[in-house]
Structure formats: structure tokens, C-alpha cells
């Protein structure tokens, strides 16, 4: 009989097609994979499965008679940025803006916001911060500032909407702190108190990133300490910045909402998620409420903050201020709708033939030299599953959560983050010189494209893909490895702990999409070093690497049952 083992993962769907006869080894005809369509376990998955079945039919010349499945548990991964939510709340009290990397002058100045047009009038007594709107030419702006100062205005800093700070500073006052490229300069509340700071090249603002000092500069009372703290955090790590105190009349007045995620334990107890604490063992949390949405029926929850580079304090502070928590939720799944939908694609219907664990162990055992793989670690997109004869422990958070963390660190979409997760990087130092992750340099035969210049780039076979974060390649490599360690290696450890450990000397076979990444295998092996296990990468059927273990295992499970 021609059968198809189908493994629907969070990110990848795999199929293994074989002809099975009672008492004989399956004849393997087709193994393939594609990105999962729809949410795991939903009927949307049927689209991708149908394509794989059709591809198999074209190859084999015959439609698979039965589709074989294991039970499915969908996983949701997300990144909740508590700090960004706080900044939205902050806007009611203060506006905090980092500014461009070509400011003019240095130092800090605080005063009243005044439009350049108003400088024609009689001078005010207090220090002022003129705002130069985008339409004003730099020669004109510098001339008006010179005239205003001569006329008695006390100009202490300036905010420029266009990229003209140096041009204006050179024609007015080179030492005066002037920030530019403040996109919403035109909508800043004139008459309000503002503070402007420009640090020396290569340094970050010091006064605006200090909540007490910022509070003094903007005249905040003790009741506004929280706004000062959030504003200071938003500006940390930038060379130039502006903070403006929003006048009370303009404030919308709603009380700051409490930003938190509440964990509901399987015993019904509630507690607030502490993003810096270790997640509890699988099964301890049954539901969540709050900023990440409300979810019931959880089997596991895992979270981790974004890894922070110790050797780049400015970037580290910018990351910390976002308070980003990468979150994975493993929920009880319902896949009967999908099994029915697939049943219509094969003449013999669809069947749930085995627990995923049995399939994974059978599939991993086809690795040459493995014999029978007693412990199989499936490092997938959604979960890390530890399979053994007694069943599986699944922990939430795997390759997809690593991708989320990479996307959060790189400020990019998940498609680019997925590539960044697996590829080397290099910085284009000059049009001809690449600086690699190990600190070495190489010379390019053709100049790098201008858009890649001075950027951290992914080194892809086809070229250089620029990333937008100003990180050194060594620092990015450290963060990328940390993301893999904190999610995959930690979840491997949680799964092993949840089954009470694995006896020393046992063979642990790694399978799943994430196991095809050599860096992941390294961090997992390092995490398990103290357990004295033999950690090996699966090579399913001796030719598919760590892929398709469950799909192949489902066919083997069917053949075993059929043969009996």
C-alpha cells in the first residue's frame, strides 16, 4: 500500500511517502518539506499538505492511499514589548526623541520652545530652544538665529526638522547643541519646556538619560518621576536627543494602564510574570491574562528577555528600555477538522496512527549507527520535544522563538530574521573590505553595493543583505548564539529535567529543523556537557539529515502495525 507520513510542524510540514507490504521493509519513494500553511492543526494546513501529496503523486506516479498523522499541538510565539507600551503611556507627560547622527555642537541646554518665526518679536527673558521647521533654508535659519541673539534672545540649544544641524551651527554657533532630523519638530508644543543634548562623537547622552537630571531640566515634580524615568530610558544610548514636557492642558489625563502579564497556575493561583525570572516547568501554568492577550488551555509557557551585548553598552541600554519579552505558548490543540480535510485528499482517508513520540523514536532510529534511538530531541519551530518510549515532554519555544528574538534584536521582519538566524554576518567596512564575525578581514573583488556600505550584512551565497542595526559582527554573533542558547538549549534542559533526567552515557539524537543548524547543535551539546550524554545529530534514512524523522516514523509505525 502507498502511504504518506505527514508531520505538520509550526513552521514546516514534512511528508514521507513509501510503499509498505506486510513483513517487508518500506520502500521509500519520496521525502519532502515545505513551509506550513495556516496555524498548526488548523484546516489551513491542508493547503500545504495537498501540495506535498500532489508533488509526491507526480514523482511516484500514484496518489498515496492513506495519510498518516500524529497528534498536533499548536504553539504561539510572540514578542511583547512592555517598554514600548510604556512609552505610549509616557507621551501624555513627556515627548522623548532620539535625533540624527550628525548633530552640531555638544552639551545640554534646556529652555522654552519657540518657533524661529517668533524670533522677530521682542526678546523673552528666559532661555529658549528655537524650532527650525523643514521649509526654512539653512542660510536663512542661521541668519535669523544670529539676529535674534544680537537682539537679546537667550538661545541655549536648537531643534531642526531637516538634516541641517551642522550647516546651521557652522553659520551661527558651532558649540551650541543643535539636533536635527526630528521628524515631528513642527508638531512639538511651542511654549513648552524642552531639553536638548548632544554628546561627543562616539558617546551617548548623559544628562537626558539620567532620570533625576532630566526631571530637573524639564522641571518635573516628584509625582512625575515615572515619566522622567521612562523618557530617560527612551533616550539612553543615543548621541543626540530631545525631551519635551507636555503641557498639562494637552495631556489626555487617562491614568497610566498597568502593563503586565498575569500567569494563572494549574492550581488556580495567579502571579505577575517577572520577565527576569526563570519560567516554571511544563504544565505549571494553565492560562495567561494581560498585555500578551488572554489564553487558556496552556500546556507550557516559556519566556526570555532579549539577550543584551555586554560589549556594546549603548545598544544594550536601547534594548533594555524596550523591555521586550519573547513569549511562547503551547496550547492544547484540536486537529480533527484537519484530519477530516486531509481525509478527502486520499482515497483511504487520513489516520492518526501513532503518538508523535513513537514516530520520532522510530524515525530517528533510521540514523545509520543509531540502532534504536532511545531519546530523541526534536528541535522544531514551535517546541522542543523530548521523546522516549514512555512518551514526550514538549516545551514551548524553539526555532520560531529564536527567530522572534532575532527579529526583535535586528528590528526586522521574521523573513529576514529567519535568514539572519542561520547565516554568517560581516560588516562592510569599505567598498572593498569585509569584517567577519571572527574578527578577520577579507577583500572583495568587486566593490560592495553602496546600500551595504558600513552595514552589518548577512553573507548569503548570492551576496550581501544589509541589516539596519549598528552592531559589530562579533557582537551580533554573540547575541545570535545567546538567543539559541536561551531558547533551544534551555528548553532542552527543561525537558530533560521534566522527565527526571537522562541516565549518563545514553544516546540523545537531535532531529528537527533547528537541528540542521550547526550552531544550534553546538549550543545544545555545550548545555548538556555536564550530563555526559552522547549527543548526535540524526540522519534520517541515512540521507535526510535531521529532517523528516516524524514523517518517516509514522510510516514505520503503520508498517509495524500492518505487519502484525
Amino acid at each position: 500500500m502507498l502511504v504518506a507520513g505527514v508531520d505538520v510542524g509550526n513552521s514546516t510540514t514534512e511528508i514521507a511517502v513509501a510503499r509498505t507490504e506486510p513483513g517487508r521493509e518500506p520502500e521509500w519513494l519520496f521525502v519532502a518539506r515545505r513551509p506550513t500553511t495556516g496555524a498548526k492543526g488548523s484546516e489551513g494546513c491542508a493547503v500545504g499538505i495537498a501540495e506535498l501529496l500532489a508533488a509526491a503523486e507526480r514523482r511516484v506516479g500514484e496518489r498515496a492511499h492513506v495519510a498518516l498523522f500524529a497528534e498536533l499541538h499548536p504553539v504561539e510565539t510572540g514578542l511583547v514589548e512592555l517598554g514600548r507600551l510604556e512609552e505610549l503611556v509616557l507621551e501624555q507627560t513627556a515627548i522623548a526623541r532620539p535625533a540624527s547622527d550628525t548633530p552640531s555642537g555638544t552639551g545640554v541646554g534646556a529652555g522654552t520652545l519657540v518657533a524661529v518665526d517668533e524670533l522677530d518679536g521682542p526678546p523673552r527673558a528666559e532661555p529658549i530652544v528655537p524650532v527650525v521647521a523643514a521649509g526654512i533654508d539653512y542660510e536663512d535659519a542661521a541668519g535669523r538665529l544670529r539676529d535674534a541673539r544680537a537682539g537679546g534672545w537667550n538661545i541655549i540649544a536648537a531643534i531642526v526638522e531637516a538634516d541641517d544641524a551642522v550647516l546651521i551651527g557652522n553659520r551661527f554657533d558651532r558649540s551650541l547643541p543643535i539636533v536635527d532630523e526630528v521628524a515631528d519638530a513642527a508638531s512639538l508644543p511651542l511654549g513648552a519646556r524642552a531639553a536638548v543634548e548632544v554628546a561627543e562623537p562616539g558617546a551617548s547622552v548623559e544628562e537626558l538619560s539620567d532620570p533625576l537630571r532630566l526631571g530637573v531640566l524639564l522641571g518635573f515634580g516628584p509625582e512625575e518621576a515615572r515619566a522622567a524615568r521612562t523618557a530617560a530610558r527612551a533616550l539612553a544610548g543615543h548621541r543626540a536627543a530631545v525631551a519635551v514636557r507636555v503641557p498639562r492642558s494637552a495631556a489626555t489625563g487617562s491614568a497610566p494602564t498597568e502593563l503586565s502579564i498575569v500567569l494563572v497556575g494549574s492550581d488556580g493561583g495567579e502571579k505577575t510574570l517577572d520577565e527576569h525570572a526563570s519560567p516554571p516547568p511544563p504544565g505549571a501554568v494553565a492560562a495567561i491574562r494581560g498585555s500578551a492577550g488572554d489564553r487558556d488551555g496552556l500546556l507550557d509557557i516559556y519566556w526570555h528577555t532579549l539577550p543584551v551585548p555586554v560589549d556594546d553598552p549603548g545598544f544594550a541600554r536601547r534594548l533594555i528600555r524596550r523591555r521586550a519579552v519573547a513569549l511562547a505558548l503551547l496550547a492544547r490543540g484540536e486537529s480533527s477538522g484537519l484530519v477530516e480535510a486531509i481525509g478527502r485528499l486520499c482515497p483511504g482517508g487520513a489516520r492518526v496512527v501513532a503518538r508523535e513520540s513513537d514516530a520520532a523514536v522510530l524515525g530517528a532510529s533510521t540514523t545509520p549507527g543509531a540502532g534504536r534511538a532511545p531519546f530523541v530531541l526534536d528541535l522544531g519551530g514551535g517546541t522542543v520535544d523530548l521523546h522516549r518510549a514512555e512518551g514526550a515532554v514538549s516545551t514551548a519555544g524553539a526555532g520560531d522563538l529564536v527567530t522572534r528574538i532575532c527579529a526583535g534584536l535586528l528590528d526586522c521582519d521574521s523573513v529576514l530574521a529567519e535568514r539572519a538566524k542561520r547565516r554568517r554576518s560581516a560588516r562592510v567596512e569599505t567598498p572593498f573590505v569585509l569584517h567577519h564575525e571572527d574578527g578577520s578581514r577579507s577583500f572583495l573583488g568587486e566593490p560592495a553595493p553602496p546600500e551595504a556600505l558600513a552595514h552589518l550584512c548577512l553573507v548569503d551565497g548570492r551576496g550581501l543583505v544589509p541589516l539596519l542595526v549598528p552592531l559589530a559582527p562579533e557582537v551580533w554573533r554573540g547575541l545570535r548564539r545567546a538567543a539559541k542558547r536561551e531558547v533551544l538549549a534551555r528548553n532542552v534542559r527543561r525537558a530533560i529535567d521534566a522527565i527526571g533526567g537522562v541516565p549518563p552515557g545514553e544516546l540523545v539524537t537531535l532531529v528537527g529543523g533547528s537541528a540542521s543548524d550547526g550552531e544550534v547543535v553546538d549550543v545544545v551539546a555545550a548545555e548538556l556537557a555536564d550530563l555526559e550524554l552522547a549527543v548526535a545529530r540524526g540522519d534520517v534514512l541515512g540521507r535526510h539529515g535531521p529532517r523528516a524523522a516524524v514523517a518517516v516514523g509514522l510510516v514505520l509505525a503503520f508498517a509495524e502495525a500492518d505487519g502484525r
Partner: protein, 100 residues
């Protein structure tokens, strides 16, 4: 006197003040000289004169940046009406800052 780090050879009608403003905003020195010719040819000639190997050529229609090490084709180019932003981009190449 410093060597000419980046050289611009500009024919009549090229936007010299806008180009210079772009370099000034980025804090990168630029030596501007007047010379008749076509933008790409002027840029190649300028690159040969510039200590950093970065040459700009301009005429009334376009601006071109050429790397002395790869003179075969323009590294950046823009219409003459975009003098300021081209100047900033060329200055960023010289300063090894990312383009925007």
C-alpha cells in the same frame, strides 16, 4: 595644506553649492574645481586626483561618484537636481557611514 581627500570636478551647470552643503553637513572635506566635460569622465579623472580615491564628476544633467579602485562604472549617481542628497551620500561613502 592637506592633500585633496575627495575631489569634485564640476562642469558648468553642476550644482556646486548643494554638493558642498551635503559634504559640510556630514563634516567631510571636499575640494571642488571647475572643469569642462561629462560627469562620468570627470569623476574618473577626479578619483585619480583624490587621496581617498573618491572622485565626483558633475555636469548640468547628473552627478557621479567613482572609486579609483573600480573606475569602470559609477559607484553612485544622481540627477544634477539632487546635489544636496548626492553630496551627503558621497560624503557618507568617504566617512564610511551607512547611506540612508
Amino acid at each position: 595644506m592637506n592633500a585633496d581627500l575627495v575631489v569634485a570636478l564640476l562642469a558648468d551647470g553642476a550644482p556646486a553649492p548643494a554638493l558642498a552643503a551635503g559634504f559640510e553637513e556630514e563634516g567631510v572635506p571636499l575640494s571642488v574645481r571647475r572643469e569642462p566635460g561629462e560627469a562620468a569622465a570627470l569623476a574618473r579623472e577626479a578619483a585619480g586626483q583624490a587621496a581617498l580615491g573618491l572622485g565626483i564628476g558633475g555636469d548640468e544633467t547628473r552627478l557621479v561618484l567613482v572609486l579609483a579602485a573600480a573606475p569602470g562604472r559609477p559607484y553612485l549617481e544622481a540627477p544634477a537636481t539632487r546635489g544636496r542628497s548626492f553630496g551627503q551620500a558621497a560624503a557618507r561613502v568617504a566617512a564610511r557611514r551607512p547611506l540612508r
